[in-house]
């Protein structure tokens, strides 16, 4: 069967848009249930935390570089650094650590 890249992209885009837009359009009311409210409040923190660790350890050539980037990112974000500074600092840490430890 011949596969068309544009058809692939269309399938991916349609599925992704449906996922994003259905809850936004279907849930018109404020949810009153306290459990559901709390659940949705915690969702972003859990999702982003789960996606960050331990994946960050595998994103670099050596896990220690990822671990140090994680530590640096947490400390900087805790101290109030912005999105870009934290992100750039993480990259810099990995670059420097691997410069020293990787041949």
């Amino acid at each position: 069967m011949q596969h068309n890249i544009y058809l692939y992209l269309f399938v991916m885009a349609a599925v992704t848009y449906a996922i994003r837009v259905l809850p936004l359009t279907l849930i018109r009311q404020q949810i009153q249930n306290r459990f559901v409210q709390s659940f949705l409040y915690y969702v972003p923190y859990v999702t982003l935390a789960v996606m960050t660790f331990p994946a960050i350890l595998g994103a670099t050539q050596i896990p220690i570089a990822g671990a140090l980037a994680l530590g640096a990112g947490i400390v900087l974000a805790w101290c109030g650094a912005g999105l870009f500074s934290v992100s750039a600092a993480c990259c810099a840490v990995v670059f420097l650590v691997e410069l020293v430890l990787c041949r």
């Binding site: 972003p44 935390a49 960050t52 947490i74 934290v86």
Partner: protein, 263 residues
């Protein structure tokens, strides 16, 4: 409402436009301001994504189109891998669904931050780019979300995401491994910048984040859970941990701001 029904002279039209900016200009600008660092980060991450797209046989313009339509890092990676393997369309659909299912949860969460009367067109537009970081800054706004804040951020972030992918397809292979490796953590840095400040403000959120790190690490090592795809594991852990947190530490229903929301 903002355009009003005006007489046919040109003056009211100008007034109406001024009214539009008066109502949304500041918020739009704030969105662009907060979206700028995201856009830079996106460019870098999309660049590495472009390298994967190239591996799957996509041209620069196809990579551009993919990113413009999808706005999804993990989902795009997974999709490109399947395209490279010449998978069936239904497989691509299923994997995209799994890799991006977290956006379903984010969309549910965001629906609660829209004023009840928010028009359908805003809901359709916001759905275009509920991605991790844009969702993060949108949800961090106090009170109800003004869609124009998110539009401002999308306006700068989405083009950078798409262009970054195209540049990655074109130039990805000339970068040394060291640089690619360093750029690979850019996305995680942005995640940290979204979750850590609220964790500082609320001890419960801090505990939830720490528990999520620990459980995620455990799940990646445990024999049974480790065989699940990253996307599936993310959903499973999100439902379990957020569910437990909601049961143990319900937020106060006294509307508006639950503790921990950054201003």
């Amino acid at each position: 409402m903002m355009y009003g029904s005006s007489p046919s002279s040109a003056l009211p039209a100008i007034k109406a436009r001024r009214g539009f900016f008066a109502a949304h200009g500041d918020v739009l600008r704030e969105g662009i301001r907060d979206g700028a660092p995201i856009a830079l980060g996106y460019f870098v991450v999309a660049f590495t994504l472009g390298i994967a797209a190239r591996g799957a046989g996509l041209t620069a313009s196809q990579g551009f189109l993919a990113s413009l339509l999808l706005n999804a890092s993990a989902g795009e990676y997974a999709g490109f891998a399947l395209i490279a393997a010449k998978a069936a369309y239904w497989e691509v659909a299923l994997v995209t669904l799994i890799a991006n299912a977290r956006y379903l949860l984010m969309s549910c969460a965001l629906s609660q931050r829209l004023a009840p009367g928010t028009a359908l067109r805003h809901r359709l537009l916001l759905g275009y780019d509920i991605a991790d970081e844009l969702f993060g800054i949108s949800i961090a706004r106090p009170g109800y979300l003004d869609p124009f804040y998110t539009y401002g951020a999308i306006l700068v972030a989405a083009p950078c995401w798409a262009i970054g992918t195209a540049v990655g397809v074109t130039a990805g292979s000339i970068l040394p491994l060291r640089v690619v490796s360093a750029l690979g953590v850019a996305l995680f840095g942005m995640f940290l910048a979204v979750i850590i400040p609220p964790a500082r403000k609320s001890r419960v959120v801090a505990g939830v984040v720490a528990a999520s790190f620990a459980a995620s690490y455990g799940a990646a090592k445990l024999p049974l859970l480790a065989t699940l795809s990253d996307g599936t594991r993310t959903i499973l852990l999100t439902v379990v941990i957020a569910g437990l947190a909601a049961a143990l530490f319900p937020i106060s229903t006294a509307k508006e701001e639950p503790a921990g929301h950054a201003a």
